[in-house]
């Protein structure tokens, strides 16, 4: 442990965030304003998620952080170490062993259990913001359930591109009421938003917290003749062979060589340990550095 208060934030700040989380759970998909604090990392690095995690963590938790599915990126490593230092929590890279998972832009491939909590880092919590820059107006639109503009946006996608081109941060309607930005997860992950774990969303710069309780109805917006489709690269993972996971595309040389691999590093590594080998992969042991 350290000389910081448990989980870095002072108690009054945590109480304020905790009250916002409770109201968020009581009004699924509604963005609750909160007094976001300066954190020892820049905005855009997950200050909202970090504040929500700080308010939620207990010393008994096992904490996992992923950034675009990966446990080993700078952002994920620094946030994991931050809470190791300030909250003394155990950490893990294994999805199944984590009790609290903070994520940037992905939902793990492995389905979450009902005793797990996932905290999303959110850059722009307002799904209508790029259509209507005024907070006064968007707040009114949410109050009046006036979401026609969002359907116009999706319609314009179709008229320009022949299809709904929105590939991430794909808007959803929660429990038939609030249209919500699921954070910039790929739309491949949207069906997982109906899950048995508790989902909390924190936007630090924009000072909003929102939530989805377990088993809440989350519907991706679409049209009858252009139904929502969770898409991914039409390929299997080159390392573990998984045909059903979300893939990153990696350029491996300067003559057009490339490979696709699972964006969820824990999912990929677990499969490789089990003996699955993809088209360009090597068996797990020999590959270890």
């Amino acid at each position: 442990m350290s000389d910081y208060n448990f989980a870095y934030l002072d108690e009054q700040t945590k109480r304020m965030i905790r009250r916002a989380i409770l109201k968020g759970l009581a009004i699924p998909g509604y963005q609750v304003p909160f007094a976001s604090r300066e954190m020892p990392m820049p905005y855009g690095w997950g200050t909202g998620g970090v504040q929500v995690s700080a308010a939620v963590l207990t010393p008994d938790d096992t904490f996992k952080v992923i950034d675009q599915g990966a446990d080993d990126t700078t952002n994920a490593v620094s946030i994991r170490r931050f809470f190791q230092k300030t909250a003394g929590v155990a950490v893990t890279e294994a999805t199944s062993q984590a009790s609290v998972i903070q994520t940037r832009h992905r939902i793990p491939e492995e389905a979450l259990r009902d005793d797990q909590i996932i905290v999303y880092q959110v850059p722009i919590p307002e799904p209508l913001r790029f259509l209507e820059p005024s907070e006064v107006e968007t707040r009114k639109m949410h109050a009046l359930e006036e979401y026609g503009l969002m359907h116009v946006k999706l319609y314009e996608d179709i008229s320009q591109h022949g299809d709904i081109a929105t590939a991430y941060a794909y808007p959803v309607k929660v429990e038939g009421r609030y249209v919500m930005d699921p954070s910039p997860i790929p739309k491949f992950d949207n069906p997982k938003l109906e899950m048995s774990g508790i989902q909390l969303f924190g936007a630090g710069r924009e000072q909003r917290i929102y939530a989805i309780p377990p088993y809440t109805k989350v519907v991706s917006l679409d049209f009858d003749d252009y139904p929502f489709q969770p898409t991914k690269a039409d390929h299997a993972c080159d390392l573990c062979g998984a045909p059903d996971s979300y893939l990153d595309e990696l350029i491996v040389d300067d003559v057009g060589g490339r490979m696709f691999m699972c964006s969820d590093t824990d999912y990929c590594a677990t499969r490789r340990k089990q003996g699955h080998v993809g088209a360009q992969g090597m068996p797990y042991e020999e590959d270890a550095a």
Partner: protein, 186 residues
């Protein structure tokens, strides 16, 4: 100031509050689930669970309404010393505390169309708390859940106000359960 006022708070505030919040949050996210909490020893007639909720969520920014049975000098002094929360009438309450039949439910703030979060959280001191009687459906509930409620009509009226409405936490001894405005009762 009496010794009783100064005692009964969390022994290790940050850690005790984190466990307490996890219990309250899980209860709010899963209506019908009953959680056990510990760490607070408020003066009678406050239950241990109500004490834990107040210590975890209340501070100088949250006006508290006390119903008649709980509006005693001992309870007031204890809440003031441990949380600094101001006391208010029903219309200004962010939190309300008392037994079901003495709470002026129609006077509590239910939020506004633009800020539905500006609504009261009502802590209902209950004689019993068990998983029977009323059937609950809605967010946080897989199929259906059950919870002993003092009545059903009030909760149906409250749910009809969605996205406005009150959120309830039922406390009984060292146990608590919650009923957010989204839960459909009956």
């Amino acid at each position: 100031m009496q010794a009783q006022t100064l005692e009964g708070g969390f022994a290790n505030l940050p850690v005790d509050a984190s466990h307490a919040f996890r219990a309250v949050m899980t209860a709010m996210a899963r209506p019908g689930d009953i959680a056990r909490v510990q760490g607070a020893h408020p003066p009678s007639p406050m239950s241990m669970a109500a004490g834990v909720v107040v210590l975890t969520l209340c501070d100088p920014e949250t006006p508290v309404f006390l119903a008649a049975s709980h509006d005693t000098p001992q309870v007031r002094d204890w809440i003031t010393f441990h949380t600094g929360a101001p006391f208010t009438d029903a219309r200004g309450a962010m939190f309300a505390l008392g037994a079901w039949d003495e709470l002026p439910l129609s006077d509590f703030p239910i939020g506004t169309a633009q800020y539905p979060d500006r609504s009261a959280t009502v802590i209902v001191e209950s004689r019993t708390l068990s998983n029977d009687d009323a059937i609950l459906r809605g967010p946080g509930i897989k199929d259906k859940a059950t919870l002993s409620l003092p009545e059903t009509q009030r909760f149906q009226t409250n749910a009809a106000l969605f996205p406005l409405g009150l959120d309830f936490i039922f406390t009984c001894g060292d146990r608590l359960a919650a009923l957010p405005r989204t839960t459909r009762v009956g």
